[in-house]
């Protein structure tokens, strides 16, 4: 009976013990890549009629925007699909290239580039056809397709 006040005093004076722990959050972002073809290009022939390119006067590059987390490779396929007109019967060497400026600054190139900077990047895509010797381009419609690749 005499211990009751002591027990009551303990209940009253004991501070509340706060529980504390941590909650952890984890996330894994897998590499992703989206390609948007903003515009197709146009090619124009040079004065010697031996170079048909989007880089010539009157030509414009194609433009693509890639949006990526980084950790991917961008490239253009080295074998474009080109349909010449019937008037063109001689061989042509076709070379696709690309370049970009801004945050992702890339000098014009043909080989693949590892994209390490996440975000959206706009790249210009060129296509150039070259005749050798005395061969020249003929009048007509040239249709070329360049494959741009993110992997």
């Amino acid at each position: 009976m005499s211990r009751l006040p002591i027990l009551l005093a303990l209940f009253v004076s004991s501070p509340a013990i706060a529980a504390q722990d941590t909650v952890t959050f984890n996330a894994t972002i897998n590499a992703t890549c989206t390609i948007l073809v903003e515009s197709n290009g146009t090619m124009s022939v040079d004065t010697n009629m031996q170079n048909l390119s989007s880089k010539n006067v009157g030509g414009t590059p194609g433009r693509v925007t890639i949006t990526t987390t980084g950790g991917v490779n961008f490239s253009v396929d080295g074998s474009p699909i080109v349909t010449p007109p019937g008037t063109d019967t001689t061989a042509t060497t076709w070379t696709p290239t690309y370049e970009s400026s801004g945050l992702l600054a890339l000098a014009e190139r043909t080989n693949a580039t590892a994209i390490t900077i996440p975000g959206s990047h706009t790249l210009d895509v060129h296509l150039t056809g070259v005749k050798s010797g005395s061969d020249t381009f003929g009048a007509g419609v040239y249709a070329g397709t360049v494959i741009v690749r993110c992997e």
Partner: protein, 133 residues
């Protein structure tokens, strides 16, 4: 530049101006290792169209040198609606190998009567491992 050159340049330029296409696509996953007990391994990919316009896409399988691989693709060519995604199952044979690396690519396909000068291709790299006891 003489008249012939200008004419040729004009023809080529006009011929090359196609309607601006908003062809875009993405695909996930882009990396995966798959273990299989059989002579084939299966990969499920999700091509997606993040834009509002429908696009035609094609799913193709290549080896490391971009040579076509005779794989089974459930629904190789299809139309993805705007902001749409679709699940595609790809079955790749090991062809007698213990491991096989392939690329599974989602490619944009031009609509009929439209010519596209830039074709977008999103490729994932996949490694299949055959488990043999």
């Amino acid at each position: 530049m003489n008249m012939l050159n200008w004419t040729l340049a004009a023809i080529i330029s006009v011929a090359s101006i196609y309607p601006t296409s908003a062809n875009a696509q993405s695909m996930s996953p882009m990396r995966q290792v798959v273990n299989s007990f059989t002579d084939t391994f299966a990969v499920r990919v999700y091509p997606a169209n993040p834009y509002s316009k429908p696009i035609n896409v094609s799913v193709r399988v290549y080896d490391q040198n971009f040579r076509p691989v005779a794989a089974s693709v459930a629904g190789r060519n299809f139309t993805l609606p705007g902001n749409g995604s679709r699940q595609i199952l790809v079955l790749v044979p090991f062809d007698g190998q213990r491991e096989r690396k392939v690329r599974i690519c989602t490619e944009s396909v031009p609509f009929p009567n439209q010519q596209t000068q830039i074709k977008a291709q999103i490729c994932g790299k996949f490694l299949g491992r055959r488990i043999v006891y």
